[in-house]
Symmetry: C2
Subunit: 104 residues, 2 copies
Amino acid sequence: MTNNSSIAKDYTCPGEPLLRVIAGKWKPQIFKVAADGPFRFSHLMKEFPGANKQSLSVALRDMEEAGILLKTTISEKPLHIEYQLSPKGVDVMGVYKYISTIQK
Amino acid sequence: MTNNSSIAKDYTCPGEPLLRVIAGKWKPQIFKVAADGPFRFSHLMKEFPGANKQSLSVALRDMEEAGILLKTTISEKPLHIEYQLSPKGVDVMGVYKYISTIQK
DNA sequence: TCAATAAGTCAGAAAAAGATGACCAACAAT
DNA sequence: ATTGTTGGTCATCTTTTTCTGACTTATTGA
């Protein structure tokens, strides 16, 4: 007997929260920008005319909270804020690369 | 000059559609069931009491349309329908494995 | 004939995600 | 003092996703 009523099988997926973050709208695009190096909020606005501030702002916060992006205030003039991939973000890049290799 | 106004950078992510399918609700859980072998609709209903028919039905259709799951009508009695991972589905399993290795 | 099982669909409601336009605070330049 | 830039937030609306409960169709067993 492989089933016991007191032992339930675990169907949780440890990667699911991160997966949902990186699959959200504008996330892969932002990721691609980040892969080229540090960038600013205003740069995203220029690159993605179809996106609105709110959505980009929320996307950046999600990614920062997931530990994928690092946010830094640059004290040089003009004072500005820079986002860049964290080491974890570099790992996540592998997910995009991997999934892109799967045939249609 | 690295920028030319007539050449826009491409920020599309080829894996995005598939990524959105496998990140959807109940998808990782269904995937985990599928990884154990062929299964039926009614089995999912028993395993996931928190899910509703509609959501599971839509999830199965999405995954079938994405080429991740194969649907087969089994002519044995009682007549029933079986879902199982396709070869592409096995590839997708690598995405879940990969993302699960990334530290919090 | 009546009830049960298997695998759903359908209309509608609720919740979550995304979009819009107005607004704001810090700082710099005129 | 006013204007421009950078990097947002806020309230509100729309769209998409998910959930709920009732209903359906085919087959089978009593």
